[in-house]
């Protein structure tokens, strides 16, 4: 596995290394067969918050701008034009204007214009007549006051204050442009886009089929005749299907490290990479009621964590330890190692940390004879349950006897919202590797996804300060400081940032797995098959 890891690291440095290695004229045709891990709730990317929707439907759409599909690390420098030919910030950094491509047609033949852009973002901001059934990323546009059009081929975003990160949000796979003339309900079942592939059918629990868009505005693309996703929720069956050659590719970023070994042992030719998915596993601590309203106990908890053990057990060493922001080398905003290790609980000497934690516990009145009994609540899904099992084992060392409390998916968020838990094990995914997205969503006062209701007005100010900062180096410094503070406050202790594997058959060319997001790299317009 080490070699796969090393390979991934190499790919990271050489960036589009894969293409140089397998250079050659792309062959046309063929249907890319991919298995899908579960049946997405709908086909509407805007109404979803899982890459179960992004992956199969991103090829149907285009964004205004998009992260370069062949540069693994997303950053502002890798943003490329798509439906917009160019973009420009106003001098006060409060207006972002896009010049739109002309002659683009929706899959139903209607022309694409600036009205579609306005419709899409008005709906996202909740301003239009038509409403999404759910709108999970509304907060991305909190700083946008209005979207205006100038003729059919120009659209501008007016901002309340400078927010350089906006362009990154617009470049995410989560931000396709929807047609104005199709209702949100229709988009959930029969999506219409401008993208390289047209939607053919979506049979729930069975398959999703896309076919080549012959009128795609990028001439000569796509190479494939179509993409077929077969929905296989059972991982054993899915992997066996891939190994036996029934699929050209696994569901991206869905192969666990142990499973990767199985794949490698049965299909040695398969190309596999393991990359960070920018999903952090963290502990939500209910600080509004005893015993974790006591900062000492919260600190003890943070000190008791042996993050390396988590990574060792769950990822055979292949996951990253960091703060809120995705650690390097995948992440752009992670604090330096020395800084990280200065945070309580991140220091390398676990025993010393735990000794300190026990002292804190004793201070709070607990000890070997008076142990603290708590429940660790989490969802009944292995990726949630497994780290919880380790957590329970680790906090035994600081006089805490925890019991696992598994919660049905349908009852999880209502339960969390009711504050009906003491410790919870949670996963937080970040679509874009940008502090704005993760700080505001998870730590700002009153945000829906700030489960712990952490609210610190000073930090809140720092959030705004970094968000408005246009100098990247300065912004980084600010971000590090915030991140460190968040960890020290035990706002939501981050345990690790997961990595996942993706595999494809050697003849599949043109796939790049992103290293700092698992939501943005699935346009697949120039994927081809060498067979």
């Amino acid at each position: 596995m080490r070699s796969v890891h090393a390979l991934a690291a190499a790919a990271l440095l050489l960036l589009p290394a894969y293409d140089l290695a397998s250079a050659g004229e792309p062959k046309q045709g063929g249907i890319l067969r991919v298995y899908h891990r579960d049946s997405p709730g709908s086909a509407s990317i805007h109404e979803g918050a899982t890459y179960s929707i992004n992956i199969p439907f991103m090829p149907v759409f285009n964004n205004l701008v998009i992260f370069d599909q062949h540069i693994a690390q997303n950053s502002q420098d890798t943003i490329r034009p798509e439906l917009a030919e160019s973009w420009a910030w106003s001098s006060d950094n409060k207006k972002l204007t896009f010049k739109l491509r002309q002659g683009v047609k929706w899959h139903d033949g209607k022309p694409f214009t600036s009205a579609d852009v306005k419709c899409t973002f008005d709906m996202l901001m909740g301003k239009s007549q038509q409403k999404f059934r759910q709108n999970p990323r509304k907060s991305w546009y909190d700083q946008v006051s209005d979207v205006t059009v100038n003729g059919d081929y120009e659209a501008s975003f007016e901002l309340k204050r400078p927010q350089p990160a906006l362009i990154s949000l617009l470049a995410s796979g989560y931000t396709p442009v929807y047609p104005c003339h199709v209702s949100p309900a229709e988009m959930r079942t029969k999506p219409i886009g401008t993208g390289p592939f047209k939607f053919v059918e979506f049979k729930a629990n069975e398959s999703i089929k896309l076919t080549k868009n012959p009128d795609y505005f990028k001439k000569g693309l796509p190479h494939l005749d179509g993409i077929e996703f077969t929905i296989i929720p059972n991982r054993s069956t899915a992997i066996l299907g891939f190994v036996s050659g029934k699929f050209d590719m696994t569901f991206p970023t869905e192969v666990s490290i142990p499973l990767l070994k199985e794949v490698k042992s049965q299909a040695p030719n398969a190309v596999c990479v393991v990359e960070p998915i920018n999903v952090s596993t963290n502990i939500i601590v209910n600080s509004s009621s005893p015993p974790f309203d006591n900062i000492d106990i919260r600190r003890a908890l943070a000190l008791a964590l042996d993050r390396k053990a988590f990574v060792q057990i769950l990822f055979e060493g292949q996951a990253d330890i960091g703060g809120t922001m995705l650690p390097a080398p995948g992440g752009l905003w992670a604090m330096p190692k020395e800084m990280l290790e200065s945070i309580p609980g991140y220091g390398p000497d676990i025993n010393a940390n735990r000794e300190e934690a026990r002292k804190l516990m004793q201070k709070a009145g607990y000890g070997p004879d008076k142990r603290l009994a708590v429940k660790v609540s989490t969802r009944n899904i292995p990726v949630y349950r497994d780290p919880a099992v380790i957590l329970i084992d680790q906090i035994k060392s600081i006089y805490i006897d925890a019991e696992l409390d598994v919660v049905d998916t349908a009852q999880w968020f209502p339960k969390v919202a009711r504050k009906d838990y003491t410790l919870g094990l949670n996963l937080t995914g970040n679509a874009v590797d940008d502090p704005d997205q993760s700080f505001y969503e998870n730590y700002s006062c009153g945000s829906e996804r700030n489960y712990t209701n952490y609210c610190n007005k000073e930090i809140e100010k720092l959030f705004d300060q970094q968000s408005a900062e246009t100098d990247v180096a300065k912004r980084k410094k600010l971000v590090w400081e915030i991140d460190k503070k968040l960890q020290e406050d035990v706002a939501r202790p981050i345990i690790f940032h997961a990595r996942q594997g993706s595999c494809w058959q050697p003849y599949v060319k043109g796939i790049t797995i992103m290293v700092n997001s698992s939501y943005n790299g699935y346009r697949y317009e120039d994927v081809w098959m060498d067979k």
């Binding site: 666990s256 057990i313 899904i381 329970i392 084992d393 598994v406």
Partner: protein, 297 residues
């Protein structure tokens, strides 16, 4: 005419072994499969009872240094990806399986007996109502009902036991009802009535004990199937949740990821489930032969 060895024929028929140890060894030979089943069952029950003694490690204790260790003197059945000792988990898993098996069977049988007894004894509209209840429960396949029940009740050990127990009711109720109906007409029940014994007392003192044999046969047969149902629920993600080391989950969760790299994670839970179920089935078969003379071959 061929000569006949009377002694060996008689031994085969089980003569000279009317009591004590010889009787037992004879039964063991006569019902060889049943004895094997009994031995397996006793072994598992012993495992469950003395789990704390024979488990060599804490079944929940995680050890990142010892993960995926192959079977060895230190870890007889190796360790899992958390570094937990598989032997200890199997042993404690016996407890869980037994809890599910016996818990669900006992609960299902008790409810079934109540429904069957009341239905068969009281007749009239109560019977009609209870029969409709059994009809309703019987019209849904066991796994479908258990699935809907666990989905509705949420994952936990007692809930899984309840979800598996409810679908067992109709079979038991039917057998008990039929038996009760037959027994009601028998002279000793008539006699009990004539000396003024109360209906409830008759039902409990006379009718119930006489339906015990078929009940035991039925319950043994169901014991194995409850263990399998739990395994199926685990596979569908609705079984007994962590931290309980359930065999079904141990098997279904390692089936994909460790078949080649750590086969002991797949083999031992698989063997444990199959063997336990096999044992109860063998024993149940023999028990049916012994207790239900109609079926005796």
């Amino acid at each position: 005419m061929t000569t006949i060895n009377f002694d060996s024929e008689l031994r085969r028929a089980g003569a000279h072994s009317t009591r004590g140890w010889r009787r037992l060894t004879f039964l063991a030979q006569r019902y060889l499969l049943g004895t094997v089943g009994l031995v397996i069952m006793v072994l598992f029950v012993w495992m469950a009872i003395s789990a704390d003694l024979i488990a060599r490690y804490d079944p929940l204790s995680v050890d990142s240094a010892q993960r995926l260790a192959a079977p060895s003197a230190a870890h007889w059945m190796g360790t899992d990806s958390f570094g937990r000792d598989v032997w200890s988990r199997i042993v404690h898993g016996a407890r869980i399986s037994l809890a599910v098996g016996i818990g669900a069977t006992a609960l299902g049988s008790t409810l079934g007996v109540i429904v069957g007894l009341v239905s068969g004894y009281l007749s009239g509209w109560v019977d009609l109502l209870f029969q409709r209840i059994t009809d309703i429960l019987q019209a849904l396949p066991l796994l479908v009902l258990a699935l809907v029940m666990t989905a509705a009740l949420g994952p936990s050990l007692p809930n899984v036991i309840i979800a598996i127990a409810i679908p067992l009711i109709p079979t038991v109720a039917r057998v008990i009802r039929a038996n009760t109906l037959a027994l009601r007409e028998l002279p000793f029940v008539e006699a009990a009535k004539s000396i003024g014994m109360s209906e409830t007392r008759i039902a409990l003192r006379h009718v119930l004990p006489n339906t015990l044999a078929p009940l035991i046969v039925l319950a043994t047969a169901q014991l194995g199937s409850t263990i399998l149902t739990e395994a199926s629920l685990s596979f569908l993600g609705l079984g007994i949740p962590e931290p309980y080391p359930s065999w079904g989950r141990m098997l279904s969760e390692s089936a994909a990821e460790y078949v080649r790299t750590a086969p002991w994670l797949v083999i031992f839970p698989g063997v444990a489930i199959s063997l336990a179920v096999f044992g109860t089935n063998l024993f149940g078969d023999a028990l049916r032969d012994i207790l239900d003379p109609r079926q005796r071959g």
